[in-house]
């Protein structure tokens, strides 16, 4: 039966009461998971996967990122200024930025060469997205807690990958 061939009549049995019950429970479990997944964007609209991604010109984006880095590296970023970050083997275009708590900031992240990961880690906050060549990812971020956050690369990008780090200082 399990290890040897049997005729159709021998193995084609009705489901027992327990089996029927368990199939409905398995189905219900999957439906709970699916419904939670589908409704959660409505319940918590403030924590979404960013949906804005555009193709970009590397040279033009590099200029935006360099300009941003020259002006605001290690400085407080005003709320109406867009933050441009470019990832390359093996550094971020800006090494430290200072942000205000509770203020909406517009981030743009892109890669100049291979795949990178944009991962914010700090004080029980973890946020991970992919950074790709050819696509600029844009999203709004609002830190609700002051503190030091680290941006690390979490998609393998080559030998220096572990050292790719940037700091976001959030002040009250």
């Amino acid at each position: 039966m399990v290890l040897i061939p049997r005729s159709f009549e021998e193995w084609y049995k009705r489901f027992s009461k327990e089996e029927k019950m368990w199939i409905s429970i398995a189905l219900a479990t999957a439906l709970i998971l699916v419904l939670t997944t589908l409704t959660w964007p409505l319940i918590d609209p403030m924590r979404q996967v960013p949906s804005s991604a555009k193709e970009f010109d590397v040279a033009a984006y590099k200029e935006l990122a360099t300009n941003f880095s020259n002006k605001y590296n290690n400085k407080l970023v005003p709320p109406d200024i867009d933050i441009y970050i470019l990832a390359q083997q093996y550094y971020w275009s800006v090494s430290k930025i200072i942000l205000k708590e509770g203020v909406n900031y517009r981030f743009h992240v892109a890669s100049a060469d291979v795949l990178h990961g944009f991962s914010i880690v700090g004080d029980s906050a973890v946020y991970n997205i992919m950074v790709m060549p050819g696509m600029v990812y844009s999203f709004t971020m609002n830190f609700n807690k002051a503190g030091t956050y680290y941006v690390i690369c979490n998609e393998y990008c080559g030998y220096g990958h572990g050292g790719m780090r940037m700091i976001i200082e959030v002040i009250p």
């Binding site: 399990v2 049997r6 327990e18 939670t36 964007p41 795949l115 997205i129 790709m132 060549p133």
Partner: protein, 549 residues
């Protein structure tokens, strides 16, 4: 041709088949050994850069090389070689028919071996430290892609030979009626394997063309189609593992459990996997730019969640079969049978431990496949925590346990050491459990996977990272015990009339005994409720995060 008598009749083991299965399994053991050696190095490096454990000289110059070696050998080579041995076993031995296209099967083996040697060589030479996913534009030595393609091509031929053998056994009336459940499960694994191999070859030929300058590379297309291979291959593992678990429950109870498995129910569950597996690819691209939210929700989240239906169904079938066997031999209380599970029988203990591993690993997967919580877990150590429970604590452990029965049946030799086999199952399981739970906790805090860095600066729980080395060492010890026992069985053991002695628990089935599966049902329901609560915990955590949209 040797034949082997199990209590239900005789199994014919053709010499040709035997040699082919053992050759494939020996290749699997070699790959497991290489992957295990690599595991020592990466666990030592990962366990804390500044700690004393890192005495093997791991730095960011060689960590990724070892990691590529570990990933390729464990996820691709060990599993695929072992699966092909199992496919040949379930077709040729269980249907008592010689492998069809015997020479083609050896040709497949040599192509795979050729591919594996090219891949290992390119990794050792240091020109292919691109990890098992090989995401372009990170480029590897062209030999790496050629070897990868050759290995997949050979594996595809082997799967086709499996189907050809079933077809010929059927046409020549080697068996009457329907395929046995285990062969049926293996055939489902084979179908998924063919889709995976097909997508994998397309992706890698495209990548090779890009690597030698013939075309440009679309990174998004690569990620989607590569996961056609990567995702399907993992479901080949899950399906093959479950088929193996049915075989283990039956073999370990000396076929007593066979009557208590409803084959129609189990076959339905296997069929549902094929239905749900293809739409599930999307959970690998949930945080990629460029794919629409609708695709991510439909494929990544909804498609993947439905995969929990067949796996839950199998869990109950296996637990229920155990309960029914024990109850039918005279123990009638609702949960009393759990105490009576024969914990020193390697087939049964492995089945229970694999199910535990799948339950924990499975629930860790759910937040990752849900769009929003996945922002917390993507590419953190949580991910390898999850898949070590699935592939090492699940698939690998099940294959190890099966080999303790497969070698004696094939060669009619006794297992070299039954005692070692019993201890090995627990050593390996607890090693993987410690390793995976440590990874999960670190990943929860945001420790990135595939990254060689000192976590002490950014993580509050960095000090538990040496436990990775503790868990890995135990698991590697378990792996070494397994490899030693298998090779010693083939080379040193003597033939015996009853080669499975000591590996089997006999049950005295009483006619008309109460064989309800209510205990297993109650157990499964309580576990699912606990798991669902853990799943909802990931949303509570999400609500405390900064806002991002």
């Amino acid at each position: 041709m040797s034949s082997y008598i199990l209590s239900f009749g005789s199994l014919k083991v053709y010499n040709k088949t035997k040699h082919l299965i053992i050759a494939n399994f020996i290749m699997a053991l070699i790959s497991l050994a290489i992957g295990g050696i690599a595991a020592i190095f990466i666990a030592s490096g990962r366990s804390g850069i500044s700690s004393l454990i890192n005495i093997l000289g791991i730095s960011d110059m060689n960590y990724y090389q070892w990691l590529t070696l570990h990933g390729m050998n464990m996820l691709i080579f060990w599993i695929v070689w072992a699966e092909i041995a199992i496919l040949y076993f379930t077709s040729s031995v269980l249907l008592s028919w010689p492998i069809y296209g015997y020479r083609i099967a050896w040709f497949a083996l040599s192509i795979m071996l050729y591919g594996q040697i090219l891949v290992e060589y390119s990794i050792f030479s240091g020109n292919a430290s691109v990890l098992f996913t090989a995401y372009p534009p990170l480029a590897a030595d062209p030999l790496f892609y050629i070897g990868y393609i050759a290995f997949l091509f050979g594996a595809g031929i082997a799967v086709i030979m499996f189907f050809a053998t079933i077809y010929h056994a059927k046409v020549n009336e080697a068996y009457k009626g329907s395929l046995p459940l285990v062969t049926w499960g293996a055939a489902i694994a084979g179908i998924i394997a063919l889709t995976g191999v097909f997508q994998g070859i397309i992706t890698l030929v495209y990548t090779l063309a890009w690597r030698i300058g013939l075309t440009s590379m679309n990174v998004m297309a690569y990620r989607w189609f590569f996961w056609g291979l990567g995702h399907d291959a993992q479901y080949v593992n899950v399906v093959a593992t479950i088929a193996v678990l049915y075989a283990l429950v039956v073999l370990g109870t000396n076929l007593s459990a066979m009557k208590f498995i409803n084959e129609r129910y189990a076959k339905l569950a296997f069929a549902l996997v094929t239905l749900f597996v293809i739409p599930g690819i999307g959970h690998h691209i949930l945080v990629d730019p460029g794919f629409s939210i609708i695709l991510k929700q439909a494929s990544g989240s909804v498609g993947s969640h439905f995969l929990s239906i067949p796996t839950l169904m199998h869990a109950f079938a296996l637990a229920g079969a155990m309960e029914a066997v024990i109850r039918a031999s005279g123990h009638t209380s609702l949960f009393g049978w759990i105490k009576r599970i024969p914990w020193s029988n390697p087939a049964i203990s492995a089945t229970v431990l694999v199910l535990i591993s799948f339950a924990i690993g499975g629930i860790l997967a759910q937040p990752q496949t849900t769009l929003q919580p996945n922002l917390n877990y993507h590419n953190t150590l949580w991910v390898p925590g999850h898949f070590h429970l699935m592939i090492a604590g699940g698939t690998t452990l099940a294959f190890m346990a099966l080999s303790y029965y497969l070698f004696p049946i094939l060669t009619t030799k006794k297992l070299y050491s039954v005692k070692l086999a019993k201890i090995q199952i627990y050593t390996f399981f607890f090693g993987i459990l410690i390793l995976a739970l440590t990874m999960t906790i670190l990943g929860y805090e945001g420790d990135p996977r595939r990254t060689f860095m000192d976590p002490s600066a950014i993580l509050s729980s960095w000090y538990i990272s040496p436990l990775i080395f503790v868990g890995a060492s135990l698991a590697i010890l378990g792996g070494a015990m397994f490899i030693f026992n298998s090779i010693a069985t083939v080379l040193l053991s003597k033939s015996s009339k009853n080669p499975l002695e000591g590996l089997i628990t006999n049950y005295d089935i009483k006619e008309g005994a109460n064989i309800s599966k209510r205990g297993a049902l109650a157990l499964c329901i309580s576990i699912v409720i606990i798991l669902l609560l853990l799943y909802f915990f990931s949303f509570i955590r999400l609500a405390a995060m900064p806002e991002f949209y």
